[in-house]
């Protein structure tokens, strides 16, 4: 689905801080949405995350740097980190270039996927459209 010029694949879910999450078997993959990377600008660094670390939905999991700003990325679901995209250590700009592909950030083994999934937003939902509309107005995007 497109909202203005921003692409939000229908099969993904999204959170309010512009992360996306995709189900793959019994795991999920998380990254930054095309709108999130447009807001952040060129990503200069993605902090590696240790495999095996436990994370909570909505809690910080790693930091990124763009344009002299260091900000936090939160986990889209609770669970255990099973992989970090080490390509980002060499090419953090993959987050900008291929946000839904090679720019993925982390893979999580969820602890309570169905509950967490229900709290995430669908691209076609009114709530998600309202969120993007408000953000576009706020940031003049």
């Amino acid at each position: 689905m497109k909202i203005a010029k921003y692409d939000f694949p229908d099969e993904l879910r999204y959170d309010a801080t512009h992360n996306w999450v995709r189900r793959e078997g019994d795991e999920v993959v998380q990254g930054m949405s095309v709108f999130g990377q447009a807001l952040a600008g060129e990503i200069m660094y993605v902090e590696p995350v240790a495999v095996g670390r436990e994370v909570k939905q909505g809690a910080p999991v790693l930091s990124v740097e763009s344009g002299k700003w260091v900000g936090r990325i939160t986990a889209t679901v609770s669970g255990t980190i099973v992989a970090f995209n080490s390509d980002l250590e060499w090419e953090p700009v993959l987050v900008n270039q291929e946000p839904y592909g090679r720019g993925w950030m982390i893979r999580i083994q969820p602890a309570a996927l169905e509950e967490d999934w229900a709290r995430l937003l669908e691209a076609g939902s009114e709530e998600f459209h309202a969120l993007i509309a408000a953000e576009r107005q706020k940031y003049n995007l």
């Binding site: 512009h18 910080p60 344009g67 002299k68």
Partner: protein, 358 residues
């Protein structure tokens, strides 16, 4: 609703406290506006910089310059009493990735303070304040502990030589270029206003930042720092200067940029082409290659062919580097096996030409 924001006009403080203070306040959840300057010089690197790649550690030791890694973004900086700092520690109610708003709280105040001093300063890009196109204030931001932090300075009397001296450089030409570029693109307040003083700058920063923070915050100057903040300073300074913390980031990226001001950078890149390792360092200004030095482990015939390639790419806009390289490589008589125009573009730009999705 208006929130009280304590302001600490501290004047001169030790180099260690000049960094430890806002970190301690952020981790303790103590919102604040600090105005201060360090009594001794030191070198401070950004949260995710690789110390060994950015700073000539040996030179810093020779010059007796302490090293600090801060928790906010940006590049390596030489800091001393010739700069007046502001440090804004705010509740982290800044949602999502609203870093532009965070920067504007600080930068808008800095620009207004300079205008009150009689200098026509403007906010340039997201995180510079400039006068006549030259940067007069450097700034960085980040989420620290539970706080949103933006910190920066006004260059009162910047030591260009000291800044150039502490950068790690591939060769002395790069250092000379860095020095020249800073001379051309930065400006100190004393160059514009002979009467500028620490006290006057500090006074106007408090006034202008207070106005810029209203109505969300009401800035109130305090007599002294809270006890818990004072107690936390030594431990915080120790943590920020700990050798393990200083060396906690090892960048694997094959490119490095030294940002002089918005739109002006020096770069040092590597790229492994099929024909061998390419290295490039040079300067970009407003999207145009200003100067370029190429080297590496690959075959080139004639041996001086690289000089021609460097010349062919100088003063070329970055979006035309690949085409200019292709024209040059197509020339008869130049053999550069396993190196394409795309490889040359990659090593000059440090990345593919089209990077940010829209």
């Amino acid at each position: 609703m208006t929130q009280l924001l304590p302001c600490y006009r501290l004047g001169p403080v030790s180099w260690a406290d000049s960094q430890a203070l806002y970190h301690a306040q952020a981790h303790l959840g103590r919102p604040a506006l600090n105005i201060l300057w360090p009594t001794e010089p030191y070198v401070c690197i950004g949260r995710f910089q690789d110390l060994a790649l950015e700073v000539d550690v040996e030179r810093c030791r020779e010059r007796g310059l302490p090293l600090v890694r801060r928790e906010v973004g940006g590049g390596a900086v030489y800091l001393d009493a010739g700069q007046v700092f502001y440090q804004l520690v705010l509740p982290d109610r800044v949602e999502g990735r609203d870093y532009r708003s965070l920067f504007s709280l600080g930068l808008g105040g800095v620009a207004a303070a300079l205008r009150r001093l009689g200098v026509s300063a403007v906010v340039r890009g997201t995180n510079d304040v400039a006068v006549g196109g030259r940067k007069i204030s450097g700034n960085g931001a980040g989420t620290v502990g539970g706080a949103a932090v933006v910190v920066g300075n006004i260059l009162l009397n910047f030591d260009y030589e000291a800044m150039a001296a502490v950068l790690r450089v591939p060769d002395e030409k790069f250092r000379d270029k860095a020095y020249q570029s800073m001379r051309e693109n930065l400006v100190s307040l004393v160059e514009l206003l002979r009467s500028a003083s620490h006290a006057r700058v500090a006074e106007e920063m408090v006034r202008a930042l207070s106005a810029n923070l209203a109505p969300d915050y009401r800035v109130e100057v305090q007599d002294s720092l809270p006890d818990d903040v004072v107690a936390a300073l030594p431990g915080t300074a120790e943590r920020l200067t700990d050798e393990q913390w200083l060396r906690s980031v090892e960048r694997r990226r094959e490119s490095r940029q030294v940002r002089i001001r918005e739109g002006v950078t020096l770069f040092e890149n590597r790229w492994k082409a099929p024909g061998g390792l390419l290295r490039a360092h040079g300067g970009l200004a407003d999207g145009v290659v200003q100067w370029l030095s190429l080297s590496g482990d690959f075959f080139v015939d004639p041996p001086n062919g690289l000089e021609g390639l460097e010349a062919a790419l100088t003063e070329v806009p970055v979006d035309r580097v690949r085409a200019a390289a292709a024209r040059f490589l197509d020339q008869q008589g130049l053999t550069l096996p396993g190196v394409t125009a795309e490889d040359v573009e990659r090593v000059v730009l440090g990345r593919p030409s089209s990077t940010v999705a829209s």
